[in-house]
Symmetry: C2
Subunit: 359 residues, 2 copies
């Protein structure tokens, strides 16, 4: 039997790695009743595994919402509040959030605001959830067509990360999470990068250790900067341009996955890093190669660039001719709040389109 | 010119007393823009005073919701989120909540959850707001017919309490706040009690010092027990029976004010205190006399008592034959989590109806 990693931080307990679920009941003991919040897909594919691993656990209620980012809405938040009311959930009870990033975001907000706060534990079931969304206390919903417009910073009492659920994932979900794993390698974890470099995600052998490394990277960052005043901004590497591309495709009626958008964003922003910092050409090329190995390129053209630039400014609510980026000094070391001129950002998008070499 | 009290606690700054508003701009300086959230009544009666006192303040937007407890709803919360979106409010901006308890509850929740938290300052305009609702970080809305079913504990960065707004209050609003002021005297502040004893609220001369004392009492309690795990429960004196009476009249189609309900609750619960603790008969009678001087009695009859008992159990979600109360050991000293048998609670309601003497 494997021994999962136990990690106690000031506010949150983590159990990470193979057989984490089996170790989790020590964290349930002090509560009166246990309520599970999940979504339709997870209920079908993961809840049976969860129950099988904890056969003696008594679940007092299951609340199931509709899957998908487009359902991270006020309507589903209200649905959860209504269900918690119907089940008469109180502050002595425990809520288990079982699902991917959308689920832990919305259910975390529901739990944290029901009766001014019911304790909850996150059990992420997707790669993205395990290494990113379930960790760090960002909860919320999309509102008025803005992502995460409404929400709060609130920590779960525990996060239990068991790679067993990865077997249930479809390709697109793998990809989304993998973009973030690669990102940790690039911004802060050279060792992780070296483990992954040159591999397709399907060829990674030891997911248990990759997940332990990547989730610990995220935990380290949010411990030092819970409210995103400083170093947590490094996590935005690839996201400034990535989010603009995500919006661009969403608004043109062909939504793309977050992972693909971030992958494209990382190519552009690595190029920016090579122009602004000392990131070497050969390094840039190995990053681009690694991303191309795992993600298809988007097909936007030069004439789309001005629209993409517009969306980027809207997203960040900036009107000036410069934008803040988190960029790479070298592989394994990011710097946040680097101002970049619009012209250079445009060139980074051209670099992406034209598949140019470094210089 | 008066010098208002400045009080800095770990998380919150307070400015309390005459001319507090004039002193408040030092707290606005670090923010980009200022948005006011208020309600229709307050906009009419208090916003002009506020502006007059701060003629050089630039207000970048005013969001006005509908007044009244029945509008402490998800619909108005969504309305505020929409307006904050329309005004493009960001985390560098400041929200000023100008209004009574309903307004600071709902607008506090809106601010705290918009973009995962915009800073806000409470300017209470009612007596209840000044001595109670605006202090202590409880925010929220009514939901699914339960009071404060959804919300969170989150502190404003400042609370600015200026008695000038009291002149705008109607009688019913005076009464609601006065019940809480009397409560502070009874549970923790014998000096305040002595200032008030035997007076109608209209005859109180020095509201400035009464408000400073009462609000400091509340601040002291929430500093020691923000999350209501212990001593903050003392604030529930009068509220266990009071809430049940409030629900009783609400459901029978004749809603009563919170203040009147709490006043009646304090009569019943003072009687319980005399039975369970050493609160003397003469003390009980002076409490009853003081409350009767300021509040009319309700007219429910013995046949309504079983329904009231039912509502009390629903409110607290208790099924057993005892309930927890906060009671008085003596005037100025409360004790929380005192178990009381149903039979004795019934007798306290009979004591109220029959205007019996102490023994």
């Amino acid at each position: 039997m494997n021994i999962p990693l136990l990690l106690e931080t000031e506010n949150v307990s983590y159990i990470i790695g193979n057989d984490a679920i089996e170790k989790s009941p020590i964290k349930f003991r002090q509560y009166k009743r246990i309520i599970v919040i999940t979504d339709e897909n997870v209920e079908k594919h993961c809840l049976p595994i969860f129950k099988q691993k904890l056969p003696s656990l008594i679940i007092d209620g299951v609340i199931t919402i509709i899957s998908g980012e487009e359902n991270k809405s006020i309507h589903q938040l209200i649905y959860i509040w209504n269900e918690l009311t119907r089940l008469n959930v109180g502050r002595d009870d425990l809520i288990i959030n079982l699902g991917g990033g959308v689920l832990t975001d919305i259910a975390g907000m529901a739990a944290a605001t029901f009766k001014r706060g019911v304790q909850f534990i996150n059990f992420p079931t997707t790669l993205l959830g395990m290494v990113d969304a379930a960790i760090g206390g960002k909860t919320g919903i999309d509102f008025a067509r803005f992502k995460n417009q409404v929400g709060l910073f609130i920590n779960p009492s525990c996060v239990i990360i068991d790679p067993i659920f990865l077997d249930t994932l479809e390709d697109l979900h793998w990809q989304s999470g993998f973009a973030e794993v690669v990102k940790y390698g690039l911004i802060m974890d050279r060792e992780l990068w070296q483990k992954l470099e040159g591999k397709k995600y399907k060829d990674v052998e030891d997911w248990n250790s990759v997940i332990i490394k990547a989730s610990k990277d995220k935990i380290d960052i949010v411990r030092f900067d819970a409210l995103e005043n400083g170093i947590r901004k490094n996590l935005n590497f690839g996201h400034t341009i990535g989010h603009a591309l995500e919006s661009f495709y969403l608004k043109s009626g062909n939504p793309v996955t977050h992972g693909m958008a971030i992958a494209a964003g990382m190519i552009c922003e690595s190029w920016l890093s090579s122009k602004i910092f000392t990131l070497e050409c050969t390094r840039l090329e190995s990053i681009v190669k690694m991303i191309d190995l795992n993600f298809n390129r988007f097909d936007f053209s030069e004439s789309d660039i001005s629209r993409i630039m517009q969306l980027m400014k809207q997203d960040k609510k900036v009107r000036k001719k410069k934008q803040n980026f988190s960029l790479l000094r070298k592989i394994g070391k990011a710097v946040h709040e680097v101002e970049v001129e619009d012209q250079l950002i445009i060139e980074s998008l051209e670099f992406y389109i034209n598949r140019k070499k470094c210089n």
